[in-house]
Protein backbone atom coordinates (compact mmCIF):
# COMPACT_ATOMS: atom_id res chain seq x y z
CA UNK A 1 0.00 0.00 0.00
CA UNK A 2 1.30 3.47 -0.91
CA UNK A 3 2.57 5.54 1.97
CA UNK A 4 0.86 8.90 2.23
CA UNK A 5 2.25 11.89 4.14
CA UNK A 6 0.71 15.29 4.82
CA UNK A 7 2.53 18.25 3.34
CA UNK A 8 4.03 20.38 6.16
CA UNK A 9 4.59 23.38 3.91
CA UNK A 10 2.36 26.30 2.97
CA UNK A 11 1.52 24.51 -0.29
CA UNK A 12 2.15 27.70 -2.21
CA UNK A 13 4.27 28.39 -5.26
CA UNK A 14 6.12 31.64 -5.89
CA UNK A 15 4.57 33.99 -8.43
CA UNK A 16 6.84 35.06 -11.26
CA UNK A 17 6.57 38.72 -12.06
CA UNK A 18 8.20 40.70 -14.83
CA UNK A 19 10.85 43.10 -13.59
CA UNK A 20 10.17 46.75 -14.26
CA UNK A 21 11.76 47.96 -17.48
CA UNK A 22 15.16 49.51 -16.86
CA UNK A 23 15.54 53.04 -18.22
CA UNK A 24 18.09 53.46 -21.04
CA UNK A 25 19.36 56.61 -19.43
CA UNK A 26 19.03 58.37 -16.09
CA UNK A 27 18.74 61.79 -17.77
CA UNK A 28 15.77 63.63 -16.36
CA UNK A 29 14.96 60.86 -13.90
CA UNK A 30 14.50 61.09 -10.15
CA UNK A 31 16.67 58.70 -8.18
CA UNK A 32 15.55 57.61 -4.70
CA UNK A 33 18.23 56.72 -2.18
CA UNK A 34 16.90 54.41 0.53
CA UNK A 35 18.87 54.20 3.77
CA UNK A 36 17.85 50.97 5.56
CA UNK A 37 18.99 52.49 8.90
CA UNK A 38 22.13 50.40 9.35
CA UNK A 39 25.25 52.04 10.69
CA UNK A 40 27.15 54.09 8.09
CA UNK A 41 24.61 53.55 5.34
CA UNK A 42 24.38 57.35 5.21
CA UNK A 43 28.12 57.59 4.48
CA UNK A 44 27.68 55.45 1.39
CA UNK A 45 24.52 57.22 0.23
CA UNK A 46 26.00 60.71 0.77
CA UNK A 47 28.75 59.76 -1.66
CA UNK A 48 26.29 58.32 -4.17
CA UNK A 49 24.23 61.51 -3.93
CA UNK A 50 27.31 63.62 -4.66
CA UNK A 51 28.00 61.62 -7.82
CA UNK A 52 24.42 61.68 -9.01
CA UNK A 53 23.87 65.39 -8.42
CA UNK A 54 27.19 66.12 -10.17
CA UNK A 55 25.63 64.46 -13.19
CA UNK A 56 22.64 66.77 -12.92
CA UNK A 57 20.21 64.17 -11.58
CA UNK A 58 17.47 64.84 -9.07
CA UNK A 59 17.87 62.84 -5.86
CA UNK A 60 15.38 62.11 -3.10
CA UNK A 61 16.45 60.60 0.21
CA UNK A 62 14.41 58.05 2.21
CA UNK A 63 15.07 56.12 5.39
CA UNK A 64 13.50 52.99 6.90
CA UNK A 65 12.55 53.31 10.59
CA UNK A 66 14.64 50.20 11.39
CA UNK A 67 16.75 47.77 9.44
CA UNK A 68 15.13 44.81 11.23
CA UNK A 69 11.75 45.14 9.54
CA UNK A 70 10.54 45.46 5.95
CA UNK A 71 10.01 49.02 4.74
CA UNK A 72 6.52 50.23 5.70
CA UNK A 73 4.06 50.12 2.82
CA UNK A 74 3.55 53.90 2.92
CA UNK A 75 7.26 54.43 2.46
CA UNK A 76 7.38 52.00 -0.45
CA UNK A 77 4.42 53.77 -2.03
CA UNK A 78 6.03 57.17 -1.57
CA UNK A 79 9.25 56.00 -3.24
CA UNK A 80 7.35 54.40 -6.10
CA UNK A 81 5.31 57.54 -6.80
CA UNK A 82 8.14 60.06 -6.46
CA UNK A 83 11.05 58.23 -8.05
CA UNK A 84 11.91 56.47 -11.30
CA UNK A 85 14.84 54.53 -9.89
CA UNK A 86 15.84 53.55 -6.36
CA UNK A 87 19.17 52.63 -4.84
CA UNK A 88 19.00 50.79 -1.50
CA UNK A 89 22.03 50.84 0.74
CA UNK A 90 23.14 48.02 2.94
CA UNK A 91 25.92 48.96 5.32
CA UNK A 92 27.96 48.11 8.47
Amino acid sequence: MARVLLDPTAETRPDTRERATRPDTLDGRTVGLLDIAKARGDVFLDRIEEHLTAHGLRVERFRKPTFTKPAPIDLRHEIATRCDVVIEALAD
Partner: protein
Protein backbone atom coordinates in the same frame (compact mmCIF):
# COMPACT_ATOMS: atom_id res chain seq x y z
CA UNK B 1 -10.06 17.48 19.18
CA UNK B 2 -10.95 14.20 17.56
CA UNK B 3 -10.54 14.40 13.81
CA UNK B 4 -10.69 11.56 11.30
CA UNK B 5 -7.47 11.27 9.28
CA UNK B 6 -9.50 11.50 6.08
CA UNK B 7 -10.89 14.88 7.15
CA UNK B 8 -7.49 16.55 7.29
CA UNK B 9 -7.08 19.03 4.46
CA UNK B 10 -3.31 19.23 3.96
CA UNK B 11 -2.06 18.11 0.56
CA UNK B 12 -1.33 14.38 0.33
CA UNK B 13 2.19 13.44 -0.71
CA UNK B 14 2.36 9.85 -1.92
CA UNK B 15 5.75 8.21 -1.71
CA UNK B 16 6.94 5.86 -4.42
CA UNK B 17 7.30 2.19 -3.57
CA UNK B 18 11.10 2.36 -3.77
CA UNK B 19 11.44 5.67 -1.88
CA UNK B 20 13.00 5.63 1.58
CA UNK B 21 10.69 7.57 3.86
CA UNK B 22 13.38 9.48 5.76
CA UNK B 23 15.32 10.29 2.61
CA UNK B 24 12.15 11.45 0.86
CA UNK B 25 11.53 14.01 3.58
CA UNK B 26 15.11 15.30 3.42
CA UNK B 27 14.83 15.61 -0.36
CA UNK B 28 11.63 17.63 -0.10
CA UNK B 29 13.37 20.10 2.20
CA UNK B 30 11.09 19.46 5.18
CA UNK B 31 13.81 18.98 7.78
CA UNK B 32 16.23 21.12 9.75
CA UNK B 33 19.08 18.75 8.91
CA UNK B 34 18.09 16.08 11.42
CA UNK B 35 15.72 13.21 10.59
CA UNK B 36 12.01 13.86 11.13
CA UNK B 37 9.01 11.70 11.97
CA UNK B 38 6.79 10.99 8.93
CA UNK B 39 3.57 13.05 9.19
CA UNK B 40 1.03 10.42 8.22
CA UNK B 41 -2.63 11.43 8.40
CA UNK B 42 -3.04 9.06 11.37
CA UNK B 43 -0.19 10.65 13.33
CA UNK B 44 -1.43 14.18 12.60
CA UNK B 45 -4.96 13.23 13.67
CA UNK B 46 -3.51 11.80 16.88
CA UNK B 47 -1.48 15.00 17.42
CA UNK B 48 -4.67 17.05 17.14
CA UNK B 49 -6.18 15.22 20.11
CA UNK B 50 -3.81 17.37 22.20
CA UNK B 51 -5.85 20.51 21.62
CA UNK B 52 -9.51 21.47 21.68
CA UNK B 53 -8.92 23.98 18.91
CA UNK B 54 -10.41 23.46 15.46
CA UNK B 55 -7.85 22.18 12.94
CA UNK B 56 -8.90 24.90 10.51
CA UNK B 57 -8.38 27.77 12.95
CA UNK B 58 -5.66 30.16 11.86
CA UNK B 59 -3.06 30.42 14.63
CA UNK B 60 -0.86 33.08 13.15
CA UNK B 61 0.47 34.59 9.94
CA UNK B 62 3.95 33.16 9.64
CA UNK B 63 6.83 35.20 8.27
CA UNK B 64 8.74 35.65 6.07
CA UNK B 65 6.17 34.67 3.44
CA UNK B 66 3.26 35.85 5.63
CA UNK B 67 1.33 32.60 5.33
CA UNK B 68 -1.82 32.06 7.43
CA UNK B 69 -1.02 28.93 9.42
CA UNK B 70 -3.75 26.64 10.73
CA UNK B 71 -3.78 24.43 13.81
CA UNK B 72 -3.54 21.48 11.41
CA UNK B 73 -0.34 22.77 9.78
CA UNK B 74 1.21 23.31 13.18
CA UNK B 75 0.22 19.74 14.07
CA UNK B 76 1.87 18.38 10.90
CA UNK B 77 5.10 20.12 11.86
CA UNK B 78 4.78 19.01 15.49
CA UNK B 79 4.69 15.42 14.21
CA UNK B 80 7.79 16.07 12.12
CA UNK B 81 9.55 17.48 15.19
CA UNK B 82 8.73 14.43 17.32
CA UNK B 83 6.20 16.03 19.68
CA UNK B 84 3.60 14.18 21.72
CA UNK B 85 -0.02 15.44 21.47
CA UNK B 86 0.07 17.01 24.93
CA UNK B 87 2.89 19.33 23.76
CA UNK B 88 0.74 20.78 20.96
CA UNK B 89 -0.88 23.60 23.00
CA UNK B 90 2.60 24.83 23.96
CA UNK B 91 3.76 24.70 20.33
CA UNK B 92 0.64 26.60 19.24
CA UNK B 93 1.32 29.30 21.83
CA UNK B 94 4.95 29.52 20.75
CA UNK B 95 3.93 29.97 17.10
CA UNK B 96 1.42 32.62 18.12
CA UNK B 97 4.05 34.50 20.15
CA UNK B 98 6.72 34.25 17.44
CA UNK B 99 4.44 35.73 14.80
CA UNK B 100 3.51 38.91 16.67
CA UNK B 101 4.74 42.24 15.35
CA UNK B 102 6.45 42.82 18.69
CA UNK B 103 8.55 39.66 18.48
CA UNK B 104 9.42 40.33 14.83
CA UNK B 105 10.27 36.80 13.70
CA UNK B 106 10.91 38.08 10.17
CA UNK B 107 13.74 40.32 11.27
CA UNK B 108 15.07 37.75 13.69
CA UNK B 109 15.26 35.26 10.87
CA UNK B 110 16.87 37.69 8.45
CA UNK B 111 19.50 39.04 10.78
CA UNK B 112 23.16 38.18 10.35
CA UNK B 113 23.37 37.92 14.17
CA UNK B 114 23.36 34.57 16.02
CA UNK B 115 19.95 34.83 17.60
CA UNK B 116 16.85 32.67 17.30
CA UNK B 117 13.65 32.17 19.28
CA UNK B 118 14.25 31.01 22.87
CA UNK B 119 11.10 29.46 24.36
CA UNK B 120 10.63 29.61 28.14
CA UNK B 121 7.66 27.70 29.53
CA UNK B 122 5.96 28.60 32.81
CA UNK B 123 2.98 27.40 34.82
CA UNK B 124 1.38 24.00 35.43
CA UNK B 125 1.75 22.80 31.83
CA UNK B 126 5.53 22.50 32.17
CA UNK B 127 5.28 19.84 34.86
CA UNK B 128 2.21 18.22 33.30
CA UNK B 129 4.01 17.46 30.04
CA UNK B 130 7.26 16.48 31.69
CA UNK B 131 9.49 19.39 30.78
CA UNK B 132 12.95 19.69 32.26
CA UNK B 133 13.81 22.70 34.41
CA UNK B 134 16.53 20.95 36.43
CA UNK B 135 19.77 19.16 35.62
CA UNK B 136 20.87 20.03 32.05
CA UNK B 137 17.76 22.19 31.57
CA UNK B 138 19.28 23.95 28.57
CA UNK B 139 20.73 20.76 27.13
CA UNK B 140 19.66 17.59 25.39
CA UNK B 141 17.71 14.59 26.60
CA UNK B 142 14.19 15.77 27.40
CA UNK B 143 11.64 15.11 24.68
CA UNK B 144 9.31 18.02 25.46
CA UNK B 145 12.10 20.60 25.70
CA UNK B 146 13.74 19.29 22.54
CA UNK B 147 10.73 18.90 20.29
CA UNK B 148 8.67 21.99 21.23
CA UNK B 149 11.49 24.34 20.25
CA UNK B 150 12.15 22.27 17.15
CA UNK B 151 8.49 22.33 16.10
CA UNK B 152 8.46 26.13 16.22
CA UNK B 153 11.53 26.28 13.99
CA UNK B 154 10.01 23.77 11.56
CA UNK B 155 6.83 25.87 11.29
CA UNK B 156 8.94 28.92 10.44
CA UNK B 157 10.89 26.86 7.91
CA UNK B 158 8.12 24.90 6.27
CA UNK B 159 5.09 27.17 6.55
CA UNK B 160 6.77 30.58 6.62
CA UNK B 161 9.48 29.64 4.14
CA UNK B 162 12.33 30.86 6.36
CA UNK B 163 15.38 28.84 5.39
CA UNK B 164 19.09 29.29 6.09
CA UNK B 165 20.89 30.88 3.18
CA UNK B 166 17.62 32.31 1.88
CA UNK B 167 15.86 34.75 4.22
CA UNK B 168 17.88 33.41 7.19
CA UNK B 169 21.15 35.28 6.67
CA UNK B 170 22.95 34.39 9.92
CA UNK B 171 26.71 34.78 9.59
CA UNK B 172 27.37 31.86 11.94
CA UNK B 173 24.08 30.92 13.58
CA UNK B 174 24.20 28.75 16.68
CA UNK B 175 23.06 25.26 17.76
CA UNK B 176 20.02 26.68 19.59
CA UNK B 177 18.45 27.35 16.20
CA UNK B 178 17.61 23.64 16.03
CA UNK B 179 15.72 24.00 19.29
CA UNK B 180 16.00 26.18 22.40
CA UNK B 181 13.22 25.54 24.89
CA UNK B 182 13.16 24.98 28.63
CA UNK B 183 10.93 25.41 31.66
CA UNK B 184 11.54 27.57 34.73
CA UNK B 185 12.07 25.79 38.03
CA UNK B 186 9.32 27.63 39.85
CA UNK B 187 8.97 25.34 42.86
CA UNK B 188 12.43 26.02 44.30
CA UNK B 189 12.84 29.60 43.11
CA UNK B 190 13.38 32.42 45.59
CA UNK B 191 11.38 34.67 43.29
CA UNK B 192 8.04 34.89 41.56
CA UNK B 193 8.20 33.08 38.21
CA UNK B 194 8.81 34.83 34.93
CA UNK B 195 5.19 34.80 33.78
CA UNK B 196 4.05 36.40 37.04
CA UNK B 197 6.68 39.12 36.64
CA UNK B 198 5.21 39.63 33.18
CA UNK B 199 1.67 40.07 34.48
CA UNK B 200 0.14 36.58 34.30
CA UNK B 201 -1.38 34.59 37.13
CA UNK B 202 0.75 31.97 38.87
CA UNK B 203 -1.79 29.30 37.94
CA UNK B 204 -1.71 30.18 34.25
CA UNK B 205 0.56 28.44 31.77
CA UNK B 206 2.53 30.57 29.35
CA UNK B 207 5.31 30.61 26.82
CA UNK B 208 7.72 33.50 26.75
CA UNK B 209 9.76 34.07 23.62
CA UNK B 210 13.08 35.86 23.61
CA UNK B 211 15.32 36.55 20.62
CA UNK B 212 18.46 35.02 22.07
CA UNK B 213 21.90 33.75 21.20
CA UNK B 214 23.43 30.60 22.61
CA UNK B 215 23.84 30.53 26.39
CA UNK B 216 27.25 31.32 27.79
CA UNK B 217 28.51 30.15 31.12
CA UNK B 218 29.17 32.39 34.10
CA UNK B 219 30.97 31.04 37.15
CA UNK B 220 31.26 32.47 40.64
CA UNK B 221 32.36 29.71 42.97
CA UNK B 222 34.16 31.47 45.78
CA UNK B 223 31.83 34.26 46.78
CA UNK B 224 29.03 33.68 49.29
CA UNK B 225 27.42 37.09 49.54
CA UNK B 226 24.96 38.74 47.19
CA UNK B 227 26.77 42.06 46.55
CA UNK B 228 29.92 40.23 45.51
CA UNK B 229 28.01 37.86 43.24
CA UNK B 230 26.14 40.77 41.66
CA UNK B 231 29.40 42.60 40.98
CA UNK B 232 30.94 39.60 39.27
CA UNK B 233 27.78 38.86 37.26
CA UNK B 234 27.50 42.52 36.19
CA UNK B 235 31.04 42.35 34.80
CA UNK B 236 30.12 39.30 32.76
CA UNK B 237 26.91 40.91 31.48
CA UNK B 238 28.85 43.86 30.14
CA UNK B 239 30.17 41.60 27.38
CA UNK B 240 26.76 40.97 25.79
CA UNK B 241 27.20 41.82 22.08
CA UNK B 242 30.57 43.28 23.03
CA UNK B 243 31.44 45.70 25.79
CA UNK B 244 30.74 48.73 23.59
CA UNK B 245 27.06 47.95 23.00
CA UNK B 246 24.70 49.78 25.36
CA UNK B 247 20.91 50.04 25.60
CA UNK B 248 20.56 48.09 22.34
CA UNK B 249 20.43 44.42 23.33
CA UNK B 250 18.44 42.67 26.05
CA UNK B 251 19.62 39.64 28.05
CA UNK B 252 18.32 36.82 30.18
CA UNK B 253 20.23 35.36 33.09
CA UNK B 254 19.31 31.75 33.83
CA UNK B 255 20.13 31.76 37.52
CA UNK B 256 21.02 28.31 38.85
CA UNK B 257 19.80 27.11 42.25
CA UNK B 258 23.18 27.58 43.93
CA UNK B 259 23.49 31.18 42.77
CA UNK B 260 19.82 31.81 43.55
CA UNK B 261 20.48 30.59 47.11
CA UNK B 262 23.05 33.36 47.59
CA UNK B 263 20.46 35.96 46.64
CA UNK B 264 17.77 34.22 48.70
CA UNK B 265 19.98 34.21 51.80
CA UNK B 266 20.50 37.95 51.38
CA UNK B 267 16.75 38.52 51.03
CA UNK B 268 17.12 40.09 47.60
CA UNK B 269 13.94 40.13 45.52
CA UNK B 270 14.17 39.60 41.78
CA UNK B 271 13.71 43.32 41.20
CA UNK B 272 16.45 44.10 43.70
CA UNK B 273 18.88 41.79 41.91
CA UNK B 274 18.06 43.50 38.60
CA UNK B 275 18.46 46.96 40.17
CA UNK B 276 21.77 46.04 41.80
CA UNK B 277 23.05 44.69 38.48
CA UNK B 278 21.95 47.82 36.61
CA UNK B 279 23.73 50.02 39.13
CA UNK B 280 26.97 48.06 38.78
CA UNK B 281 26.84 48.25 34.99
CA UNK B 282 26.62 52.05 34.77
CA UNK B 283 29.72 53.32 33.00
CA UNK B 284 31.06 56.79 32.20
CA UNK B 285 30.41 57.71 28.58
CA UNK B 286 33.98 58.82 27.93
CA UNK B 287 35.06 55.19 28.32
CA UNK B 288 32.57 54.09 25.68
CA UNK B 289 32.69 56.72 22.95
CA UNK B 290 33.93 55.74 19.53
CA UNK B 291 37.70 55.63 19.39
CA UNK B 292 38.24 55.57 23.15
CA UNK B 293 40.61 52.89 24.39
CA UNK B 294 41.81 52.38 20.84
CA UNK B 295 38.48 50.79 19.80
CA UNK B 296 36.49 52.15 16.86
CA UNK B 297 33.19 50.70 18.10
CA UNK B 298 31.36 52.83 20.61
CA UNK B 299 28.69 55.38 21.39
CA UNK B 300 28.27 58.84 19.91
CA UNK B 301 30.76 61.34 21.41
CA UNK B 302 27.78 63.44 22.51
CA UNK B 303 27.35 60.92 25.37
CA UNK B 304 30.89 61.40 26.71
CA UNK B 305 29.72 63.12 29.89
CA UNK B 306 26.78 60.78 30.57
CA UNK B 307 26.56 57.77 32.86
CA UNK B 308 25.44 55.03 30.51
CA UNK B 309 23.44 51.92 31.50
CA UNK B 310 24.22 48.62 29.79
CA UNK B 311 20.58 47.57 29.33
CA UNK B 312 17.39 49.52 28.71
CA UNK B 313 14.72 49.44 31.47
CA UNK B 314 13.16 45.97 31.35
CA UNK B 315 15.98 44.71 29.18
CA UNK B 316 17.56 42.48 31.81
CA UNK B 317 15.53 39.48 32.95
CA UNK B 318 16.06 36.61 35.37
CA UNK B 319 14.72 33.08 35.24
CA UNK B 320 15.49 30.21 37.62
CA UNK B 321 16.55 26.80 36.29
CA UNK B 322 19.27 24.20 36.47
CA UNK B 323 20.65 21.37 38.55
CA UNK B 324 21.26 21.58 42.27
CA UNK B 325 25.04 21.45 42.06
CA UNK B 326 27.16 24.13 40.40
CA UNK B 327 27.78 27.77 41.24
CA UNK B 328 27.18 28.61 37.60
CA UNK B 329 24.55 30.59 35.76
CA UNK B 330 23.93 31.18 32.07
CA UNK B 331 23.72 34.45 30.21
CA UNK B 332 21.60 34.50 27.07
CA UNK B 333 22.37 37.62 25.09
CA UNK B 334 19.69 39.12 22.88
CA UNK B 335 19.31 40.83 19.56
CA UNK B 336 18.31 44.39 18.61
CA UNK B 337 15.72 45.20 21.25
CA UNK B 338 12.38 46.93 21.39
CA UNK B 339 10.66 48.65 18.49
CA UNK B 340 13.95 48.62 16.57
CA UNK B 341 14.11 44.84 16.70
CA UNK B 342 12.38 42.35 18.99
CA UNK B 343 10.50 42.58 22.26
CA UNK B 344 10.03 39.72 24.71
CA UNK B 345 6.53 38.30 24.20
CA UNK B 346 4.53 36.12 26.62
CA UNK B 347 1.29 34.43 25.64
CA UNK B 348 -1.02 32.09 27.52
CA UNK B 349 -1.16 28.40 26.63
CA UNK B 350 -4.73 27.43 25.70
CA UNK B 351 -6.10 23.91 25.87
Amino acid sequence: MTVAPDDLVSRRVTLGAAEDEAEAMFERGWTDGLPVVAPTPERVAHMLTGTSRDPGEVVAVVPPNLVPCTVEKVAVNAVLAGCRPEYLPVVLAAVEAACTDAFNMHGLLATTWFSGPVVIVNGPVAHAIGMNSGVNALGQGNRANATIGRALQLVVRNVGGGRPGEVDRATLGQPGKYTFCFAENEADSPWEPLHVTRGFGAGESTVTLFAGEAPRGFADQLGRDAPQLATNLADALLTVWGTRAVMAFDAFVVVSPEHARVFRDAGWSKQQVVDELHERMLRPGHELVRGSGGIAEGVDPAFAEAQIPKFRPGGLNLVHAGGGAGLFSAIIGGWASGALGSDIVTVAVRD
